[in-house]
Structures are given as structure tokens and as C-alpha cells.
């Protein structure tokens, strides 16, 4: 049994010198227009807003604020492209364009990674090793489907829907754009996409890639802005399908406004995933999985393993090891190659996280944070765990979307299962055990779209992703992801 008396010391002594990625070769324009009909154009009302680096609070650029008039232009351009070249194009030709986007993205991967970290605050290790390669992989994967749709839906015909309006969040800016755009194009649709207002830059870079790839004008349109621009897309009568990733609250609003219309929709919303550690698990690797589950991307992950359930007999050991591991997490400059946890995306999000830290303590939770120092400027939150919380605690029930983990213990299998499913969400889950039968049994019973076994937060374009209950409607990724962008008919 591990005790906390014999403590390990990680501070002081040998440390790592700063190893920042150079930004010398990065070209960020002082102002970005809207990408409509193949051109970068000024917004009709001439309004722009700042986009900042959350690690330094420095202004990076100014981004156009689209109004309903701009959105209308974008939807009309998309409609024209759909009726015109894109709609008439042979599927095999379509796939060539999508492949081209993937290749250009790979060639410019370094630039994309750096901009993603500058604009969003995520560590360069993650944007370099996960976000950007996975974005390219989605385009590669769906490019392959473009001329094989009849095999995806045997015995039926698959027709494109028309214009897809897509609204994406700030946690994985380029990756979410790729998740949305790649299957839409592969199925023959055209796109109007709105990135989140705090993270527009890689979307504008993606617009450059799309222009460089020679896609016919209007096939992909990117309009930047805040909620109003998003609402204009959702409400536009020329949009045939709405794809949204973001909070459950906004998802509800979208669903309301789409009720009674002919528009199809997929919603990928919040989560509060249970990560369940059984006593027979490989404990050291499970601890690593807890870390990847909740501290990946500062916890700004809808499928984050934010509720930890540890079997009672190993709880002390797991928590002691987790605390040790938290001491070795490096929080700071997102561009430093050694950074594990970057900046919180915005001051608004930081306030929200901090309010939950207060709520958790007020509810009687025992809060522990790593002892690392954080920079003075910018938005930061130390990795945090709560013990002594229960199912009735708000930090257990509500999505915090930050590096904050709520830990509970369980004694029996059924208890773990009941607690895991006792949440309005159902996006993901994790199980840690050395016993295969337990994995199969548990994964059948956990009501979540994705359940990982002995790992966490693994993504692949071939694997469908989506939620139960308040975590959303529909699936993205894989074969299932095509379904959201086609009308099926009898052959």
C-alpha cells in the first residue's frame, strides 16, 4: 500500500531550458476578411474584432465580423457552386481536390501548428502531433470516400444535400473545421463555415489552402464572427444542413430554431465523461490515462475524462501517483516544445473555470493543484483535482471545460456503472482493467458514444464520434460521418 509519507521531490535541481518554436517564418496578416466565393472580401458593415494570443494577451490580428448580409452572400455563393461546377463534378474529380487540400495542409503543417498554438493557447506538442496531422488525415480519409459512396450504403443511392452550414468551437479549431468540411465535400455538398470568434486564424489559413488547391469559387466559404453570424447561418433558408459543435446550451437553441424546418442537423455538444479505474488495472498506465483524459488541451475537450471513478482498494495509491505526476506537468508558454499544458483559451473561459473551483470548494470538495508557477500575463489554470466530492456536487455534474478533475471512489462494478451513467451527458467514457471480459461487459453498458479501454482521448478519422442524451445528435467521422451529409434513396 502506498503511503504519502515517502514523498518524491520534483521541484528544483535539473530543469529544462526554454525550447520555444520560432515564429519568424509565420505570416499573420494584420487583418483578415471573409472568404466568400473564392475571394477574401471585406465585411459589408466594415466591422472587425481583435484576436489575441491567450498566453500573452497580445493582439495577433483583426478578424472580420460577418453580418447576416455577409452570411447571405456566402450561402448564395455556396448554392451557386452547388448548382454549378461542384454539383456537376464527377465524384473521382471531387476527391482529387480533397486530396490536394490534405497534401497542402501536410506541407504547411509546421506553420499551421504554430498559428494554432498562438491563437488558441494549446501546447505546440499537441498542435504539432495531434491537431494538424489529424486534420490532414480527415481530408485524406474522406477524399477516399468521394467516389465510393455506393459502397458505403449498399443497395441505396446516396445524394448530396446541398449547402451545409457549419459552426465550430475554439478547442480544436482546425481539426473541427476538417471534421466538418471533409465529409461535406466528399459527399458533394458545398459549405459555409463559421469558426469560433477567439480562434479564427487557422480557419483563414485553411481558406488560403482551399484557394491554393483550386477549388471552384463558393465550394467552401468561411465567415468569421460571433454568435450573431452563427445564428444567421442556422436561420438562413438557403442552408440544407446544419452541423454544430459546441455547448449544449447553444445546441438547444439551434435545435429549437430548426424545429419545423426541412433542415437536417448534427449536434456535437458537451460531455462529462466517466473514467473508471478498476483495482486490477495497470495502475501506472492508468494514471497516465487520467492525465491524458483531463489535462489534454487544458481540459478544453468535450470528451475529456472529467469524472474519475477509482476502485476503493487502489484509490489512495492512484491519487498519490496522480499528484506526483501532476508535479511533473509543465504549464506555460504554448510554443515551448516541453510545455504540457498551455493557456486557457480566453478570459471568459478562465472566469468560468475559476468560478467552478470556488463552487467545488464551497460544496466541501478537497481541492489539490500542482505547485507549478504560471506566467503573470495571459490566462492560466494549474492542473486541479477535487476529492471528497459526490454525484450531487456541481463540479461532478456540470461540464467545466478546464483542467479540473472530480474524483470519486467505488466499491463494486454496479456502483461504478450506475454513477458513470448518472449524468445528462453521454459523449465518452474510459475503462481501465487487465480483464478483457470486464471491458466488453462495461463498454456495452456505458451509455456514451465513445468508450476507450485502457487508453483515453484517442482519435482516428475512421472512427465515429458523437453523443447520447445531452451530448448531441448524429455521428461524425468514419462511415457514419458520411450519413450526415447524404440523402439516401432506393436504387
Amino acid at each position: 500500500m502506498a503511503t504519502s509519507e515517502n514523498k518524491l521531490a520534483f521541484g528544483g535541481g535539473w530543469g529544462y531550458d526554454p525550447a520555444p518554436e520560432s515564429t519568424d517564418h509565420i505570416d499573420i496578416k494584420s487583418r483578415y476578411g471573409l472568404f466568400i466565393n473564392g475571394d477574401f472580401v471585406k465585411p459589408e458593415k466594415g466591422k472587425y474584432f481583435d484576436t489575441i494570443n491567450p498566453a500573452t494577451e497580445d493582439k495577433l490580428s483583426r478578424v472580420a465580423e460577418a453580418s447576416a448580409v455577409d452570411v447571405d452572400k456566402a450561402v448564395k455563393a455556396a448554392r451557386a457552386a452547388y448548382r454549378g461546377p461542384w454539383g456537376r463534378m464527377k465524384p473521382a474529380e471531387r476527391s482529387k481536390y480533397i486530396y490536394r487540400i490534405a497534401r497542402i495542409m501536410q506541407e504547411r503543417a509546421r506553420e499551421f501548428s504554430i498559428i494554432e498554438s498562438l491563437d488558441g493557447g494549446k501546447p505546440i506538442r499537441e498542435s504539432r502531433d495531434i491537431d494538424i496531422p489529424l486534420s490532414a488525415a480527415h481530408f485524406f480519409y474522406y477524399a477516399g470516400w468521394a467516389d465510393k459512396l455506393e459502397y458505403a450504403f449498399p443497395g441505396r443511392t446516396a445524394k448530396s444535400l446541398g449547402v451545409a452550414g457549419q459552426i465550430i468551437p475554439w478547442n480544436f479549431p482546425l481539426l473541427m473545421a476538417s471534421w466538418k468540411i471533409a465529409p461535406a465535400l466528399a459527399c458533394g455538398n458545398t459549405v459555409v463555415l463559421k469558426p469560433a470568434e477567439t480562434t479564427s486564424l487557422t480557419a483563414m489559413k485553411l481558406a488560403e489552402v482551399i484557394a491554393d488547391a483550386g477549388l471552384p469559387p463558393g465550394v467552401v466559404n468561411i465567415v468569421t464572427g460571433a454568435g450573431a453570424a452563427g445564428a444567421a447561418i442556422v436561420d438562413h433558408p438557403g442552408v440544407d444542413k446544419v452541423a454544430f459543435t459546441g455547448s449544449t446550451n447553444i445546441g438547444r437553441m439551434i435545435q429549437k430554431s430548426l424545429a419545423g424546418t426541412n433542415k437536417r442537423y448534427t449536434l456535437e455538444l458537451g460531455g462529462k465523461a466517466a473514467n473508471i479505474i478498476f483495482a486490477d488495472a495497470a495502475i501506472d498506465q492508468a494514471v497516465e490515462g487520467i492525465v491524458n483524459g483531463i489535462f489534454f488541451n487544458q481540459g478544453h475537450v468535450c470528451c475529456a475524462g472529467s469524472r474519475l471513478f477509482v476502485q476503493e482498494s487502489v484509490a489512495d495509491e492512484v491519487i498519490a501517483k496522480l499528484k506526483d505526476r501532476m508535479e511533473t506537468l509543465i504549464v506555460g508558454d504554448p510554443l515551448d516544445k516541453n510545455t504540457d499544458i498551455g493557456a486557457i483559451n480566453s478570459t471568459m473561459q478562465l472566469n468560468k473555470i475559476q468560478s467552478y473551483l470556488k463552487i467545488g470548494q464551497a460544496e466541501g470538495g478537497d481541492m489539490h493543484q500542482s505547485s507549478c508557477r504560471v506566467p503573470k500575463k495571459g490566462y492560466w489554470c494549474r492542473p486541479t483535482i477535487f476529492t471528497g466530492v459526490s454525484q450531487s456536487s456541481r463540479v461532478v455534474q456540470e461540464e467545466i471545460f478546464g483542467p479540473v478533475l472530480a474524483i470519486q471512489t467505488f466499491r463494486k462494478y454496479d456502483e461504478a456503472l450506475t454513477k458513470a451513467n448518472n449524468t445528462p451527458y453521454g459523449l465518452s467514457g474510459g475503462i481501465w482493467t487487465d480483464k478483457g471480459s470486464k471491458i466488453f461487459n462495461m463498454t456495452q453498458k456505458i451509455r456514451a458514444g465513445v468508450v476507450w479501454a485502457n487508453t483515453f482521448n484517442k482519435f482516428d478519422p475512421t472512427s465515429p464520434f458523437g453523443g447520447y442524451k445531452e451530448s448531441g445528435v448524429g455521428r461524425e467521422g468514419g462511415l457514419h460521418g458520411l450519413d450526415a451529409y447524404v440523402k439516401l434513396g432506393a436504387k
Binding site: 518524491l8 535541481g13 535539473w14 529544462y16 488495472a281 495497470a282 498506465q285 497516465e288 516541453n338 487487465d434
Partner: protein
Amino acid sequence: MTVTAAKKSRRLPDLSRALVVDEVGVNERVARFQSRSIKKSSKVEALKLILSMIDLTTLEGQDTPGKVQQLCQKAIHLHNSMPGLPHVAAICVYPTMVGVAKEALVGHDINIASVATAFPSGMSALKVKLDDTRMAVKAGATEIDMVISRGNFLGGDYRYVFDEIVAVKEACGDAHLKVILETGELGTLDRVRKASMLAMSAGADFIKTSTGKIQPAATMQVTLTMLQAIRDHYRDTGRMVGMKPAGGISTSKLAIHYLVMLHETLGNAWMTPMWFRFGASSLANDVLMQLLKQSTGLYQSPDDFSKD
């Protein structure tokens, strides 16, 4: 603590308890260590630390007194044209060469490690192994690198392996005992973990991956598993045990990855030659080359460094 008291306090650990290690997870963790970027002064500091942690090794049937003497000179004078370098932690030889080394290292604070117990296979009677150990200690070895009986371990006779280590530890007297698990013959990380617990409970001062005679020798995966076992042993008993990966670590880059792993697994207390060693023969020259490159900006020819 007297030897008998220490012996009494040693208990065979409960190996029926599942100590599972997930290899996929270990690989992922190792990849994270390898992606750490060590630059500038932290690199120089690491390189010097690595030099001071080396057990400079020659373990060949063709070893001669002359070769061992040369190795000892190298241990003392790593690269005289570069001032401020540490000396290595120890030299590591066969029992018959311990006397030669002792003479060559007189007046220097460098340990003499000797392999013993029918190294490298361990395929001999306990009595022979104990005599082998006593002979090396008597000749002046301050550290004994023993091998475990892998056949008995794999056959499930943990008691035999445990008792053997206890006996060798007793034969060591004041000499430090490093227990070689020969992980290349154990096959799985679960067994590496189990053998580590066994060796530490039996009184090992250090646990060591390999003899260098079997492939694979040290790997980061195996070393991480052993470091985690050391951490758990420390948490349970308060006793620190050292770690020695040996065989196959011949570049500075790889050695720095090991240091990163040590740093993030056991923390600062283990970042000294007292608790961590590299069993290596060609690593020293690569580290010297990198150190010179850090100060001059240029790589020297491999022939600028003595080969012994």
C-alpha cells in the same frame, strides 16, 4: 543494521498480487520522454551528469590487464584538454581484473564494480556464486553486479531467486549489490516488474537491466518499469534503491532521454551517481563529443577522443 537483522527484515514480497504493466501505455509514456527538448545549459548539465553516472565497462573474455589499466586511466582522465569534467562513477570488470583495477585507481574516488555469480548466465551452484562474489570483494570490488537465476524465476521458483539474492547480499559485506534481472530473457514487462520487486525486497542496493550479453539489453520501456517499481518500493518501505540500465545506450541523445525519464519518474533525489548509473562502454566518448560541440559549436573527429 547488522547483516542478520537486515536479513530477518527481508520478506518475500506478495507476488500473487497483480502487478500488471500495460506495454502500450509504457510505449506512449516513453515517447513523451523522447519528445522533451533539452537545450543549452540544461543540456550541458545533463551531459556532465551522464559522464559522472557511467560505469565504464569491459566484460570480455579477451580482456587483458593492459586494457583494464587503460580503462582506469580513461575513468580518471576523461578528456584532459577539457577542464571541469567529472570522472565516471565506476569501472566494471570481471572478478579476475579487480586487482588490476584497484591498483590503477589508487587515490581516486572511483568505484570498482565486478560482475559475479557466474556472470552472465548465472548457471552455477549457489556455493560457486558465493565464492565468486567473495573473491571479487576480497580483491577490492566495492560494488558487485550479480545475475539472477532466470531459469528459476521463469519457472516460478521465486523463493529460490529471493534466497539467492539474500545470500549474495550477505557475501557482499560492505560492497554494494546490483542485481541484474537480464530483462531480455524475462520476456514481458509484468515479469520485469515482478523481478524488480523480488530483488529489492531481497536487499538489492541497485537493480540493473542487463548483462549486455543478451539482446535486447536496456530499453527505455524496461527501465521505466523498473523505475516505477523503485518508486513503489520507496513509498512502501522508505528505502531508496538505485537503477542501472546497461547495454545499448551509446549516444548522448538516448542517455538524455533516460535522464528525462529518471527526472520525471523518481525526481531529484535519484539524479546522482549514487542512485543512477549507465552501464556503457562507448557512451562516454559520444558525451564528450557533444560537450565539446556545446562549447565550440563544432563536432570534433571521433579520433580526438581516446578509445580504450
